[in-house]
């Protein structure tokens, strides 16, 4: 019994040291949610020292000639650990990194793939959105996760998608689709035709409260359009567990956004100001979401300043 403890302790220690060493990253835990589709689930929390910025769902799709990475995590270290996880699964080279939008928890691991002959793909608005925010993203890192970030963490796109595009990974085709302003102004989804797997990026939050950095009305419209694809089986959200029914998976988020939209419209029509709306809108949704207090008031502010000009 005692020996088992020691062995366990040793395993933990060696695991920790390999996390710390840049050259030997410990592979991220991934699970194969559909044939050749691997997902690593991020921590359902704010980025902090404990999770070291590993809070977004990231992963990859393996074709015969090509691995496509979908988002790279919140630091180069997480990106490197994703790379290590990929090489555990396949010898096929990574040739594409697809970024679903410009938020730091999804893209600051890009650097780990930049040395390869990799094409970085994102929606048309991605580069300008990331460039405009990168200063504040990098400055925040020491405070949130205790790691000093530098400009090499920012890797912009090589190829921009405006509308729909297909990627051939060798015997396997994935469809990329950019969307009008919704969660952000550069949302991109990835659909794997073979397995019917849809990667929504942050167009879908499961359990964790959504954050509006684009347009509340735009987001609801995009949710309607996502639902038009009737062949979706597996759904990989930007945050939260993998789901298998698109309509059911999006229902809580839709309800949350509709509640804010309707409450804020009513507050505006009734002559209530921003402060009142922030205090009274959608509070009944509080118990349904993780991190509600961290994002809700800001969501209402974003909704109010959008809807007051309707």
């Amino acid at each position: 019994m005692r020996i088992t403890y020691w062995l366990a302790a040793l395993a933990v220690l060696s695991g920790t040291s390999s996390v710390l060493a840049d050259d030997v990253p410990q592979p991220l835990r991934v699970s194969e949610v559909a044939q050749g589709v691997f997902v690593h689930l991020g921590d359902q929390a704010e980025a902090n020292r404990g999770n070291a910025g590993d809070i977004a769902n990231i992963g990859f799709i393996v074709g015969d000639e090509c691995v496509a990475v979908i988002d790279t995590g919140g630091t180069p270290q997480i990106g490197a650990r994703l790379r290590a996880a990929i090489s555990e699964q396949t010898a096929t080279p990574v040739c594409c990194v697809i970024n679903t939008h410009m938020h730091p928890d999804h893209v600051l691991g890009n650097r780990a793939f930049a040395a390869d002959d990799t094409t970085f793909i994102a929606a048309a608005g991605f580069d300008s959105a990331l460039a405009a925010r990168s200063e504040s993203y990098l400055t925040r890192m020491p405070e949130t996760i205790g790691i000093t970030a530098d400009s090499s963490w920012i890797v912009l796109s090589d190829r921009q998608i405006d509308g729909a595009a297909k990627l051939d990974l060798g015997g396997r085709e994935v469809t990329l689709q950019s969307w009008p302003t919704a969660h952000t102004d550069n949302d991109l989804t990835v659909y794997d035709e073979d397995t019917g797997t849809l990667w929504t990026g942050d167009l879908l939050f499961v359990d964790r409260v959504p954050s509006i950095d684009g347009s509340i009305t735009g987001w609801l419209q995009v949710l309607d359009r996502l639902a038009e694809n009737g062949t979706v089986g597996t759904v990989v959200p930007g945050h939260g567990p993998v789901k298998h029914d698109l309509a059911r998976a999006t229902a809580p988020e839709r309800r949350y956004l509709e509640t804010i939209r309707d409450d804020v419209r009513k507050a505006i029509a009734d002559g209530y100001g921003l402060q009142h709306a922030v205090q009274h809108t959608g509070t009944q949704q509080r118990s349904r979401w993780l991190l509600f207090d961290a994002y809700h008031a800001r969501n209402v502010t974003a909704a109010y300043t959008e809807l007051e000009w309707e």
Binding site: T118, A131, L167, D168, G273
Partner: protein, 298 residues
């Protein structure tokens, strides 16, 4: 939207090398800025802000005495602001309806903003009170102050500490294109005064209110400052208020104020920005008060 059909995903790109090189220059800026901003404890920040205030005080008010203004004016702002680029604040006239000398002028100071003296309001005879609500940007943890001058030439001050950061250098809003397209478009609404059934008038102005601190790191260009710097509101011929301000006001500036009901005439607003654009609009006096939005087409 364009269709990129069956493009090869995995061909190497030369464009990227160029983009990265260009980016290196840009981010050197960032690195410098980051190093130059050591984290400070709250206490140190507050002390430092008193230093900022002392120089502002000297520049704007000289040796005039400034008394505690608790009974004259109050400042309502969230202690921890959710969105540093849209921090709602209310300056409430505590003299309204009292017998004391009325407030004739207000200054709003945000100590740690790039231009701390953020706004000045001169109240006119058509103002029912000096109460003003607006939305501001807060660049870092800061004291926010309101200095009120009363008709007997006395000065009073109240202050509040606000925790928010990044409001002035926050990325240009998602609505920038829309704001530019509709530059100077105005709306007038009747809104509630806080939680009460009292009414206030809200003037909304479409304007990106660019601070000049918002760097587009792709082009390495700082978007030049472009903001509303003067707003005058009248009821008929009578002044409600005359005001000057900086980019401390949020994008799409919003001002709430109180107009004397018995002042005859239409309400009009004259707005000017730092690029000498002028916008003017008049709203016919409403038949009956209702919290409905009035929009003109002029």
């Amino acid at each position: 939207m364009g269709m990129n059909k069956h493009a090869r995903p995995c061909e190497p790109s030369r464009a990227r090398t160029r983009a990265r090189l260009r980016y290196l220059f840009i981010t050197m800026f960032v690195a410098l800025a980051t190093v130059a901003m050591p984290a400070m404890a709250d206490v140190q920040r507050r002390d430092q802000e008193e230093t900022v205030w002392k120089s502002i005080r000297k520049a704007h008010f000289g040796d005039r005495a400034i008394a505690d203004g608790t009974d004259v004016v109050s400042l309502d702002a969230p202690y921890r602001a959710e969105d540093p680029s849209v921090v709602p604040i209310t300056i409430t006239d505590e003299r309204a309806g009292n017998s004391g000398p009325a407030i004739s002028r207000l200054w709003l100071v945000i100590d740690n903003n790039p231009v701390p003296m953020s706004a000045r309001f001169d109240l006119g005879p058509a103002a029912a009170s000096a109460t003003i609500a607006t939305r501001v940007r807060v660049n870092s943890y800061t004291y926010m102050r309101v200095i009120a001058e009363t008709r007997d030439d006395k000065l009073y001050m109240v202050k509040r500490y606000v925790k928010a950061s990044g409001g002035c250098s926050a990325p240009i809003g998602r609505d920038l294109d829309k704001a530019r397209e509709n530059l100077g478009q105005m709306r007038l609404r009747t809104v509630r005064a806080g939680e009460s059934n009292d009414k206030r008038t809200q003037l909304m102005i479409r304007h990106p209110n660019i601070t000049g601190l918002q760097m587009d790191q792709l082009t390495r260009l700082v978007e030049p400052a472009h903001f509303v710097d003067a707003i005058t509101v009248r009821k008929g011929d009578a002044l409600v208020f005359d005001s000057t301000m900086t980019f401390s006001l949020s994008a799409n500036p919003s001002l709430q104020f109180s107009v004397k009901d018995d002042t005859p005439g239409d309400l009009s607003a004259h707005v000017q920005d730092n690029e000498e654009n002028e916008f003017e609009q008049t709203w016919p006096a409403p038949e009956a008060e209702s919290p409905q939005q009035q929009e003109t087409t002029s």
